[in-house]
């Protein structure tokens, strides 16, 4: 009789412990992508290559275009070396147009107004007839910049235009290797830290991970719209250079929406090569100035500035470390940055959402992924559209969930503010 009891106890134990055993065996770890030097070398060639229509490197497709923002990857990603950030001249103009259909449904159209085209370039008037017939709009035409004499374009109802500045790609392999669970853990920690406040909070820095349709978490892009480096590279190749690839088709000119693509401009292997090259880019570093007479002074200033950076609350979102990635200064979460920094639009159509997700689950116009601050000293101009030329100005323009920290920064003495900036200037491209 006793033996049968022990059998039952054993059975209960196995049933209770079975889920733990299964989970231990399937626990995802930090898997950094192994880089093949030959692939990275080939990728570098493609990264530096200046594409043209009917390019020999894309025998299956039409090469560059029909619409594009630059002729090569390095044309935009060049600050501090290939793979770095870019200037205002290569900003991408994105639009969002929301219409109410006859059956009272909200219909949103999103896309990019490309700077160049093989034929007639995209014009703002092709987005909405009330907009001026301007191609290559400058940032000053879309946002009110202090000191700018040009007046901003008045957007018609339901239309919003914004620009995206070129982000740096250094250390992208580290970000790519971060497991989703690390980003989600940060999301939960922020909620706990701020008394269970929701990510829709207007003033508390509670971010949220961008969950894509396949359940993965967005790691890359201003709106965290790409879950992996590979997807990010493929989207950029298609949208910035007009190179169709297995991951994304090339965009069509706004004036000719029925244009059919001829074939793949990049095969999967070429995409992998570019991804390998980007993954091989080294991680940015914390570096003091080279002049020996300044080193001690700057070290003291930067050390004090780093403490202030955490004290005023910058580190709430620009977390110094994320999982095993040290010195990232980002939580990779979407944060509401307030109305002045709103910017809708994405590449082509709105990104697909999870089927069971609420209608407002996608990134909202005011939500931006916290950009990693590693290498920030070599990535001016700042903010998503490059409207801030200096770090001070960038901090001042922080609103929404970051307004509290911006106010704290403004409350510091000039000397203390200089210390924070001195610290940020030690975050250099490799």
């Amino acid at each position: 009789m006793k033996g049968s009891y022990w059998g039952w106890y054993g059975l209960i134990g196995v049933v209770v412990l079975a889920p733990v055993g299964v989970r231990v065996l399937t626990w995802p770890g930090f898997r950094r992508q192994a880089i093949d030097p030959a692939m990275a070398q080939a990728g570098q060639t493609l990264f530096l290559h200046e594409w043209k229509a009917g390019d020999p490197l894309s025998p299956g497709g039409d090469g560059l275009g029909p619409v594009y923002n630059a002729a090569s990857c390095v044309a935009c990603h060049h600050q501090g070396g290939p793979g770095g950030a870019g200037g205002l001249e290569h900003n991408v103009t994105a639009f969002t147009m929301t219409e109410i259909t006859l059956d009272q449904r909200r219909q949103t159209r999103e896309g990019v107004v490309h700077s160049y085209a093989l034929g007639e370039p995209d014009k703002l008037s092709q987005v909405h007839h009330a907009l001026p017939a301007v191609s290559r709009p400058t940032l000053a035409m879309l946002v009110s910049l202090p000191g700018s004499e040009r007046s901003r374009i008045t957007f018609p109802s339901g239309v919003h235009l914004s620009q995206r500045n070129t982000p740096a790609l250094f250390g992208a392999n580290q970000i790519d290797a971060l497991p989703d669970r690390v980003i989600i853990a940060n999301e939960r920690k922020q909620r706990l830290k701020w008394g269970l406040a929701s990510a829709k909070s207007e003033d508390l820095p509670v971010g949220r991970a961008h969950r894509l349709a396949d359940g993965r978490i967005g790691h890359f892009g201003w709106k965290a719209q790409s879950a992996s480096l590979s997807a990010f590279v493929q989207a950029a190749c298609a949208n910035e250079l007009g190179l169709s690839n297995p991951g994304q088709a090339q965009p069509r000119p706004l004036g000719k929406p029925n244009t059919q693509p001829t074939g793949l401009d990049l095969i999967a292997e070429q995409c992998d090569q570019i991804t390998s090259f980007v993954a091989s880019l080294p991680q940015p570093v914390e570096r003091l100035p080279d002049e020996s007479r300044l080193r001690d002074f700057v070290r003291e200033e930067a050390t004090a500035g780093k403490r202030l950076f955490e004290r005023v609350g910058c580190a709430d979102c620009h977390a110094p470390s994320l999982g095993e990635v040290k010195g990232l200064y980002s939580d990779l979460l979407l944060h509401d940055m307030g109305q002045p920094l709103e910017g809708g639009g994405s590449y082509n159509e709105p990104p697909p959402q999870k089927p069971d997700a609420p209608s407002d689950d996608g990134p909202q116009p005011g939500e931006w992924r916290t950009p990693p601050l590693w290498g920030v000293a070599d990535s001016a101009p700042y903010l998503h559209d490059g409207r801030a030329w200096t770090l001070d100005k960038a901090i001042e323009l922080h609103g929404g969930q970051a307004a509290r920290s911006a106010r704290s920064f403004a409350g510091l003495s000039k000397a203390e503010q200089a210390q924070v900036i001195a610290f940020l200037k030690t975050l250099r491209a490799p």
Binding site: V20, R181, L196
Partner: protein
């Protein structure tokens, strides 16, 4: 010195020490009664203190009262050692018949234990209100914490320590109040509005007992569950099952450890062996502390999380939800501990065999 005991008919009886562990007959119902041994089979438990109303009433009536609040004035029988079978009932030596306090009998069915929380409803409602305000203030003040950092770390630390002490004191008071239901049942006292009163020492002792029972095991399981929830990514059903298992084990262990330590009045009984023994004694009833209680905790936890998150929004929904949560939580905690206490009293632990 005499042995005091109560017949199953409710008659309070008294016998001389020489009659210990012998049999006799009750003068009222005529049924044979076993006179208790002088060597207790288990250490027994100190009863919960009386309410101020009860104390005032007893003082007015001036009955003789022992340390456990048992009314000895009503004892009417004296058992003679020379003739064990003859009962010489002696009338009480008092000039007037006091208006005896109506004492309820200890519950016999679990449904009767449901009444217990309602007997002290004013106290429980007041506690629920205090807890609602406290938890809401904590959640709303957390985002303002950085402001307290500004003046200096020392001030912040003292503020933090003061807040923590206040929270512990209130939590200890809640624990002590709920524990009164258990301790009074373990002492065989019928239902009444037992509460810790203003005995801060008892309150702190009770709080420390709850804390010790938590640190003696459940903390490991809770830490594991918390870590897993935090770093497990978007949890699948399998992951939720693991978190639920860890939480269930922690809550069940904590509750059983509280019962075990209260039953024996020894903190060292908050060990896995005693908890296992208690489960073995409870047999199928163990499903209540092992499954029903954790299920209740999970449901209440969800309501609390929703209510606390709602507090950050400009609606008042969070406040009534939080109050309802605390009322419900106090009701279930009191009822379940009462039920376990009554059961343990009626099924005492067997002494170890030598």
């Amino acid at each position: 010195m005499s042995i005091k005991f109560i017949c199953s008919c409710g008659k309070h009886l008294r016998a001389r020490d020489e009659m210990a562990a012998r049999r006799s007959v009750c003068p009222r119902c005529g049924a044979p009664v076993g006179i208790p041994s002088l060597q207790p089979t288990h250490p027994g438990t100190r009863a919960a203190p009386l309410t101020p109303q009860e104390r005032r009433r007893l003082r007015r009536e001036k009955p003789s009262e022992d340390a456990f609040g048992v009314d000895t004035a009503a004892i009417t029988a004296d058992l003679s050692p020379s003739d064990p079978l003859s009962i010489l009932a002696t009338p009480p030596k008092q000039t007037r018949t006091p208006r005896l306090r109506r004492r309820r009998q200890l519950e016999t069915r679990w449904t009767e234990c449901l009444i217990y929380p309602f007997l002290g409803w004013r106290l429980f409602l007041a506690l629920a209100l205090v807890l609602t305000v406290l938890s809401a203030c904590l959640v709303l003040l957390i985002p303002e914490m950085p402001r307290f950092l500004e003046p200096g770390r020392e001030i912040w630390l003292s503020y933090y320590f003061a807040c923590l002490s206040l929270v512990f004191l209130i939590a200890a008071y809640i624990g002590s109040t709920v524990e009164c239901a258990l301790r009074s049942a373990l002492a065989g006292e019928g239902p009444g509005a037992y509460w810790p009163g203003w005995h801060i020492g008892n309150v702190l002792k009770s709080g420390l007992r709850w804390l010790f029972c938590f640190l003696a095991g459940p903390i490991v399981l809770v830490a594991l569950a918390g870590y897993y929830w935090l770093y497990g990514g978007d949890l699948t059903r399998l992951d939720w099952l693991i978190v639920a298992e860890l939480g269930t084990l922690a809550i069940a262990y904590w509750m059983l450890a509280i019962v075990a330590t209260n039953e024996s009045n020894r903190l060292r009984d908050a060990n896995p062996l005693r908890v296992a023994q208690l489960i073995y004694r409870l047999r199928y009833r163990a499903i209540v502390p092992v499954l029903v209680v954790p299920a209740l905790v999970f449901v209440h936890g969800l309501v609390a999380l929703f209510a606390l998150a709602e507090l950050h929004r400009p609606t008042i929904l969070g406040w009534p939800m939080l109050l309802a949560f605390w009322c419900s939580a106090l009701f279930w905690a009191t009822f379940l501990l009462r039920w376990l206490g009554v059961w343990c009293y009626r099924n005492p632990r067997m002494p170890p065999l030598h």
